[in-house]
């Protein structure tokens, strides 16, 4: 078991934003997190990453409570928003910085970056720009790749498809599918694009007002099921 959540609760001003009695995520699973705005997806991500204090319950990563230990940081790669990027560095500097944190040498980083040439589409490397001067989509590319640079066992991405162009969406989808196919890396990806999510993820968690109201293994009917749920919502 990779991640286990028990009796998790978080409220803001009396409104429950996350309420998950029990959730287990196994090694190698690819999870798609869907739900309308305010459903609690980002908050859940932040709690799993120990960025927010929870009111009760616990999150275990490989059996250890994420609030008490730091070891989960060794194998968890995450990109939620631009708050994970250092905006005054160039993308290269940022990748080297990440590399140094995770003991990946510069040459290894360079070799890895080669493999993302298509994904970057010539807009990231060697542009002599700081990350803050990149477009949101390109910032997202930097964040996602930095996340994969860490040789993670778990990756967590919050709406990675939102700002990137269609070609990059396809490339990212293939990357994530590849990850899922190899079965070594556990992934949790949230998205508003039901097509992408059902395409990439083998298990879908549907959140509404902090609750996980559906937990389904993806099959041919999943997209339809989700679409009917979202179109009925008022």
């Amino acid at each position: 078991m990779m991640i286990e959540i028990k009796d998790l609760k978080k409220t803001y001003n009396g409104i429950t934003v996350v309420d998950i009695p029990s959730l287990q995520i196994n090694k190698g699973e690819s999870i798609g997190l869907v739900g309308n705005n305010g459903a609690g997806k980002t908050t859940l991500f932040r709690i799993i990453l120990d960025l927010i204090r929870k009111d009760s319950g616990e999150v275990l990563s490989k059996g250890f409570n994420v609030s008490d230990t730091d070891t989960w940081k060794d194998y968890t790669g995450s990109y939620l928003d631009e708050g994970f990027l250092i905006e005054y560095l160039t993308p290269e500097e940022y990748f080297y910085y990440i590399g140094s944190l995770y003991q990946v040498s510069r040459t290894d980083i360079d070799v890895k970056l080669e493999t993302y040439t298509d994904f970057f589409n010539g807009e990231i490397l060697g542009k002599k720009k700081y990350i803050r001067d990149l477009s949101k989509g390109n910032q997202c590319k930097v964040g996602v790749v930095a996340c994969l640079m860490q040789n993670p066992e778990i990756i967590m991405l919050d709406e990675p498809f939102a700002n990137i162009d269609p070609s990059t969406q396809f490339r990212l989808k293939n990357m994530l599918k590849q990850v899922a196919f190899e079965g070594q890396i556990t992934s949790i990806v949230s998205s508003h694009d039901l097509n992408h999510v059902t395409d990439v993820c083998k298990r879908i968690l549907l959140m509404e007002k902090g609750l996980i109201i559906k937990d389904i293994q993806t099959d041919v009917n999943t997209l339809e099921e989700l679409e009917s749920y979202f179109s009925v919502m008022k």
Binding site: R46, L49, I52, K73, I86, E87, Y88, E93
Partner: protein, 492 residues
């Protein structure tokens, strides 16, 4: 329309999470403002007597005429340095059904609300009531008042326009300061020219012909429209952006490599300081502070006492710790989530701060060694104080950093920027400024100043040697507060 802009600004100010959530800050700031206000009023009320004292041979009105031009020159200088351009986040409005004229109008009018514009009227109005109105009549009274308002507005819009136009960099400012200082020297020291003579000439005419007050008013109107037109023509998103610098390079600071991950973090933070507007201007202040010693060591009153030496030496060798450290962690607010979620141990995080502190304090210490010219005691005090700064002040500053939850926008300038200022900075200054004196005072009173100085140095050294103990304390404190810090930094 302007009304609803004002309303938005008002809301933006009060609803910003940065605006003193804590009442303590508001109270302190209110007192500070009141104090300044009171000072101005007192000066204004006694202006006639002050002038009489300074220029006993002249008529008071003549003396007044003589200083007006000085004031406005000085005012212009201060404005160049300190006045912020009204930036209003115009972005959301540019695409709405709001005309350019309305936006520009708003930018111009809202910029008027600054102490620079209030001060001249506040300073002179009591004088005008006391001296001019009763003895010289209503006409002259209005003449002066309008002329002063006109000159104020002229300075205001001129400095705005000029600052935008030339995108003043610090070298230019330095040159300008040099020119004004040169004029001052020519005037006061060598008596080659006399600004005061020119000032008298101008305002004596005004005194005889109050109608002439329309000239400064007219000047103000002209410069208003120049500024207006300039703004209107440049109201584009990409041009309003503050950063026009070109290619960015990836620099590598290999000096820090030997310290492992802490060194990497320190190198990254050094880039933060060098590449962003506000931290780099606080670094410039550190440079200027190196001259602090000239103020203290040359003055015989200060030079005799150890107390002032301690003060000056602490500032010079520890200015980076004080000035940059007081906003610790806020500098990294925009990527604090990344710091928390990535594989960075809190201990390394704190060590990286120490590395920066040690580096900068060493540099400032070395740079201030030439002050030994003023005696070996100066160097001794500076050496002792650098130990104190590194051993004690670092820990104090970092401790308060764990209680600082305010976000800072790196791209905004430093002067009059209250963003990120909170109660913790005010409280921080208390131990920072008093502790060395608490240690020194008993020895000083007993007539053993040298022992007191050495005691400060000893405590500093002890703090440096035991730094791992303090670091662990800080890490513990930090892990308790980390959610609060991260949440505060997320609030824009």
């Amino acid at each position: 329309m302007i009304l609803s802009f004002l309303q938005h600004q008002w809301k933006a100010f009060w609803r910003s999470k940065n605006t003193g959530k804590s009442i303590a800050v508001r109270v302190v700031m209110a007192f500070l403002l009141l104090y300044l206000f009171a000072n101005v009023l007192v000066v204004a009320y006694f202006l006639d007597e002050i002038l009489d004292e300074l220029f006993p041979l002249e008529r008071i009105v003549d003396a007044f005429n003589g200083v007006i031009l000085y004031y406005f020159l000085f005012d212009l200088l201060m404005r160049f340095q300190l006045q912020e351009l009204p930036t209003l986040s115009v972005r959301p409005y540019l695409t709405l059904r709001v005309t350019r004229n309305q936006i520009v109008n708003y930018l111009s009018i809202s910029s008027l609300w600054t102490g620079f514009n209030l001060a001249p009227v506040m300073l002179t109005l009591p004088f005008l009531f006391k001296q001019v109105l009763p003895y010289h009549g209503v006409g002259i009274f209005w003449g002066y008042l309008l002329a002063i308002i006109g000159l104020t507005l002229f300075n205001h819009f001129f400095s705005l326009w000029f600052k935008r136009k030339v995108n003043l960099n610090s070298w230019f400012l330095l040159a300008f300061v040099g020119v004004v200082a040169g004029l001052g020297l020519l005037d006061f020291h060598w008596h080659v020219i006399s600004i005061s003579y020119v000032s008298k000439l101008l305002f004596n005419h005004l005194y005889q012909q109050p109608v002439l007050a329309i000239i400064p008013l007219f000047m103000a109107i002209v410069i208003f429209f120049i500024n207006y037109k300039f703004l209107k023509n440049n109201l584009y998103l990409d041009e309003l952006r503050s950063d026009h610098s070109g290619e960015k390079t990836s620099t590598d600071i290999s000096f820090f490599n030997r310290f492992g991950i802490a060194g990497e973090l320190a190198a990254t933070e050094l880039k933060l300081i060098l590449r962003n507007k506000r931290p780099s201007s606080s670094l410039k202040i550190c440079g200027i502070m190196m001259f602090y010693g000239l103020l203290f060591y040359t003055n015989p009153v200060y030079a005799a006492s150890f107390g002032w030496k301690i003060f000056a030496a602490m500032f010079m060798t520890g200015i980076f710790i004080i000035n940059y450290g007081q906003f610790m962690f806020s500098w990294q607010a925009s990527h604090f989530d990344g710091i928390m979620a990535h594989k960075i141990k809190a201990l390394d995080f704190f060590k990286s701060k120490l590395i920066l502190f040690y580096t900068f304090s060493s540099i400032t210490y070395i740079l201030t060694i030439p002050y030994v010219y003023f005696g070996w005691k100066v160097l001794l005090v500076q050496s002792v104080m650098v130990l104190w700064n590194l051993g004690v002040n670092t820990t104090i500053v970092l401790y308060f950093a764990t209680r600082n939850y305010r976000r800072i926008d790196l791209t905004k300038g430093a002067s009059f920027n209250w963003e990120g200022v909170g109660a913790s900075q005010w409280i921080l200054s208390i131990p920072l400024f008093t502790l060395p004196f608490v240690v020194y005072a008993p020895f000083g009173l007993l007539g053993q100043p040298m022992a007191g100085i050495l005691c400060i140095g000893f405590i500093g050294l002890a703090g440096m040697i035991t730094r791992n103990f303090w670091l662990n304390l800080l890490v513990k404190e930090f892990s308790e507060k980390r959610y609060l810090i991260a949440e505060g930094f997320r609030n824009e």
